[in-house]
């Protein structure tokens, strides 16, 4: 859908590159999944935060999630979940960022924003 409109989808997380996938599996993924292993980009985009102590304890003790396993030693840090639609000049035309990870930009809104950019060309 996104591709047919001439747009690229790029996903970014603070995780270290995934070593659990085979090269064939990695080639089969049709989008770029980028690893911001130093959180440099998260910071540039003002999305970076250090996980609060109380939430860290919750993840470790109740959810059994240790972020260091995915992000590397000492990296209890995450992005605010966010989506941005950029036009060809790199200007943000639509987007959303919310620390509540259950609040996400609607895919239909993303598609509408890409269409809108296309119409202006």
């Amino acid at each position: 859908m996104i591709r047919s409109l001439g747009a690229d989808l790029v996903a970014i997380s603070p995780e270290l590159p995934d070593n659990t996938l085979t090269m064939a599996e990695k080639h089969a993924i049709p989008i770029d999944i980028l690893s911001d292993a130093t959180s440099e980009v998260l910071k540039k985009y003002r999305l970076w935060f250090a996980v609060p102590a109380e939430v860290k304890a919750l993840y470790l003790e109740k959810f059994g999630i240790n972020l260091e396993k995915y992000n590397g030693a000492g990296r209890w840090e995450l992005p605010v979940p966010a989506t941005y639609v950029l036009d060809k000049d790199g200007i943000v035309r639509a987007g959303q960022a919310d620390p509540d990870y259950t609040i996400r930009m609607e895919p239909a809104e993303v598609v509408a924003a890409v269409r809108e950019i296309g119409n202006r060309r």
Partner: protein, 78 residues
Amino acid sequence: MSLKDRIAEFNAKRNRPPEIMAIVQRGNAYVKDSGASGLHIGEHAPDFILTNQRGEMVRLSERLSRGPVILNFYRGVW
């Protein structure tokens, strides 16, 4: 079905206890107060180079030269 409705359904099924939700919500409020609010509409998205899942270097400005780009920042696979 909208993504919003699907997430609402998932949340209802997951049904987390109020004491856990309170911690999550305090955490979200803390992050909001920290000023991590992301880019504004109309702002120029900073360029970057990062490595993709195949170990290739990806530059945002190179991708933009081909057309619009949707950037999705996600927390992880867990």
